[in-house]
Every structure is written in structure tokens, then in C-alpha cells.
């Protein structure tokens, strides 16, 4: 096995294919390495120029593929990103946040990926670089199933893109302990409030389906709701997108019940928080 550390995107692309494994922070890649035969080569993206950092251009926030969770936490971002920052604080531990990347979390495509619901609630898109030039795909389409993403062997994710938006974000994760834990369920929301009622809500749930999902029916039902009305609307909502399973962390029945409380609390968090630090 050889390890390559390219310094440009073109150089990185030229090294792909033939079983090459792409890595950035490596926090998901390395544990897997010990369990099987080594890949023919690995391509480390952390030295590629321009791939790390968060910037705003033409109404689009760009989170470069080598941007770590700690970078997200330290960035000055508008209130709609509060859910993504909340997720950043709960990805693994600080040691993991210091190396693990947002793009890696997406590409690993775990049903329990902490970053995915928060990014879905932000209508994130994925920018893919490949031999035919860049293309963009909505995050909801990019992740096709557990460990399955819309990425050819000749391509890499170069950035995650988030359209500028108003509103307040929030994130809640339910686990067996507070930190360093794989989620039983998690919810991210971005809520815009007009007067004292919701004018637009975006809600996404993770760990309760093979891929995190947006709850569009619920989002519509929440339009016009006040804080006091939210729990009732969530309790009575039909949530066909959620298909939780029994696993070592929780039963499907527990998830089905707990997630409604988590959804209501996350939405009210987003309605009540006005100042985010």
C-alpha cells in the first residue's frame, strides 16, 4: 500500500480509481483498515490547497471537504447553522472533532451520522469533483443508503454547499450517554418565526431510517404553529419517513416514541433561542 498526499485537486483526481481509498481526517477510515486487507493506495486530501475552511460567495456557504468539526464550531456562522454547530459538538469527542471532517461524515454514510440531519435541514448540496469537472447533487440524493453514496471511483467530494438562509437552527441527539456515543435518534431543525408563529420549518431526523430524512409533511403542518401548539402537532403527525429498527442501542418501539419528543423539543429550542454563542 502507498499513501499519497497530493497538493492540488487535479493531482488528487489523477490518483483515484484502482481501489484507491480517499481519506481526510481518517477517523472512520483507520478503524476499518485493521479489519481487512490494505487498499492498494490511500489518497490523503488534507494537503490539497483550498479544500479546508468555510466561506460565503454568491449566496452559498461553502464548507471545503477537509474542514473539520472543530473548524465548524469556531467559524462565525449565521443562526441557521446552530443545528450544525450543535452536531459538531456531539460528533465523537473533541479528539475526533479536531480531525474528522464534515464531508467525511457524509461520505461514510452511516445511518447515525451526526452531521447529516443538520445539513439536510439546511438543504445542503454536495459538490463533487471528477474528471468531467464539478457537479452538484442535493445531499438527500447523494446518500443513497447505508455506506452507499452517489460517488464514482474517479470522483471525490470537494465541498458541502449550504444556501444562505434566515431562521434559527437547533439539534438534539439522544444517546445512552451525553457524549462519545452513537445516536439512538437525532433531530435537526431550522425554523423561521414570524410574530409568534412558525412561518417555515425544516426538520430532519437521523438514526430512525436507513438514511436521515426530511419530514416534509410535518414541516407543512407546523406552518402557523405557536410554541404551545408544536407538541400536539408533532404527537399527532403521520411520520411515514421514519422506519426505525431494533438494534443494540434501542428498540424500534422506543425510537418511535422517543423521537416525537425529541422532534418537539428541537423545534421549540429553535423557536425560543434568540442568541446563539
Amino acid at each position: 500500500m502507498t499513501l499519497h498526499r497530493p497538493e492540488s485537486l487535479d493531482e488528487a483526481l489523477s490518483l483515484l480509481g484502482g481501489g484507491a481509498v480517499v481519506l481526510a481526517g481518517g477517523t472512520d477510515v483507520y478503524p476499518g483498515l485493521r479489519d481487512g486487507p490494505p487498499p492498494s493506495r490511500m489518497v490523503d486530501l488534507t494537503r490539497v490547497a483550498g479544500l479546508r475552511g468555510i466561506s460565503l460567495r454568491d449566496g452559498l456557504w461553502r464548507i471545503g471537504a477537509a474542514t473539520t468539526w472543530t473548524d465548524v464550531l469556531r467559524a462565525e456562522l449565521p443562526a441557521c447553522f446552530a443545528g450544525l454547530k450543535g452536531a459538531a459538538r456531539e460528533v465523537g469527542s473533541v479528539q475526533i472533532q479536531n480531525t474528522g471532517t464534515v464531508a467525511g461524515n457524509i461520505c461514510n454514510a452511516s445511518p447515525a451520522a451526526d452531521g447529516v440531519p443538520a445539513l439536510m435541514a439546511l438543504d445542503a448540496q454536495v459538490e463533487v469533483a471528477g474528471p468531467e469537472g464539478p457537479r452538484r447533487v442535493a445531499l438527500e440524493q447523494f446518500i443513497r443508503g447505508p455506506r452507499n453514496v452517489d460517488l464514482r471511483p474517479s470522483e471525490i467530494v470537494s465541498a458541502v454547499l449550504v444556501p444562505e438562509a434566515t431562521g434559527q437552527g437547533a439539534f438534539r441527539k439522544l444517546g445512552a450517554r451525553k457524549y462519545l456515543v452513537i445516536s439512538i435518534a437525532m433531530v435537526a431543525a431550522v425554523v423561521e418565526v414570524s410574530g409568534n408563529a412558525i412561518s417555515r420549518a425544516r426538520v430532519s431526523v437521523g438514526s430512525c431510517s436507513p438514511v436521515a430524512v426530511r419530514l416534509r409533511g410535518l414541516e407543512e403542518a407546523l406552518t402557523g404553529a405557536t410554541v404551545a401548539e408544536v407538541p400536539g402537532i408533532v404527537a399527532g403527525a403521520d411520520l411515514p419517513g421514519l422506519t426505525p429498527i431494533d438494534d443494540v442501542r434501542a428498540s424500534a418501539a422506543y425510537r418511535r416514541e422517543a423521537v416525537r419528543t425529541l422532534i418537539a423539543r428541537t423545534i421549540t429550542d429553535a423557536m425560543e433561542v434568540r442568541d446563539v454563542t
Binding site: M1, G26, T27, P31, G92, S93, Q95, L180
Partner: protein
Amino acid sequence: MSPSISLTINGEARAVALDDPRVTLLDLLRERLDLPGTKKGCDRGQCGACTVLVDGRRVNSCLTLAATLDGAEITTIEGLALGEELHPVQAAFIENDAFQCGYCTPGQIMSAVGLISEGSAGDDPERIREGMSGNICRCAAYHGITIAVQEATRNMIRTDKEDAA
């Protein structure tokens, strides 16, 4: 191919030839560089026993390929004390019985040094517990650990102020 890397480990420049590019920083430190103070617990990023500082940031050395660290500065538990003088975090761990069996302690101490330099927790016990949550202690010395980190934080701020004055 056997890549060669240059590292600064606890202030000392080292050139290391890697016979296997898959070797982790943890295995390199323990097996090749005679620095066994960094402990191997879970070997998959879940326990924090292997925490070291890379360019000042705390990371799990079990999840770090040595080959990706060319030019980096590494600090391990062996590099904290100045001769016989303990680092303030080491002293506070002893003062507050912040361990029992001691296996997780090097990782706890390196993580605390990282946390204090990040400066986001101050001496708030809840923020310290959050910031230290990547380091598991199976003897459950968490209470003492939190107090030790609080005390070390205060001592280091005081020393910084005295140095500045």
C-alpha cells in the same frame, strides 16, 4: 515503498523510516520510539487513552497515520514535565486523586492540557466534563478529574498573569 518522515517529538527532531505506511502514531510511539507512556485502550477512537497533542491539538493517536504527520510537532505525556518539575495538570491530578488504576491517566492529562489551551471551558465544571468526555475512565475517577482540571486551569491562568506582570 518505505516513506520517511520528520517529526518533532517532545521538542526533539526525529527522522523516522516507516516500514508500513499503515502504522499509527500510537504504534510508532510505543513500539518504535520507546515512548510507551501513551496507552492503547480500544484502538478505535472510543476511549481516549492514546490522546496526544499534534501541533497543539489533541487527537487520538490510534486514529492518526504516522505517514500523514511529516513535519508535525508531537507532545506526549513524556514531554510535559520540566525535569523533576511536574506540569501543572500532572500536579493537579496527583493533588486531587484524579485516578485509580492509572491506565487512562496519560490520555486524560494530555486531553486536559489540550482543553485548557483551547480556552473554551474555563473552570466551569459542566464544560470541563463535556471537554473531557472523549476520555473514558473505567475506575470512574471523573469527579477528581474534573476538580483537577479546574484547579490546573486556575493555576495556569495565575502563572500566566504573574509571568505577564
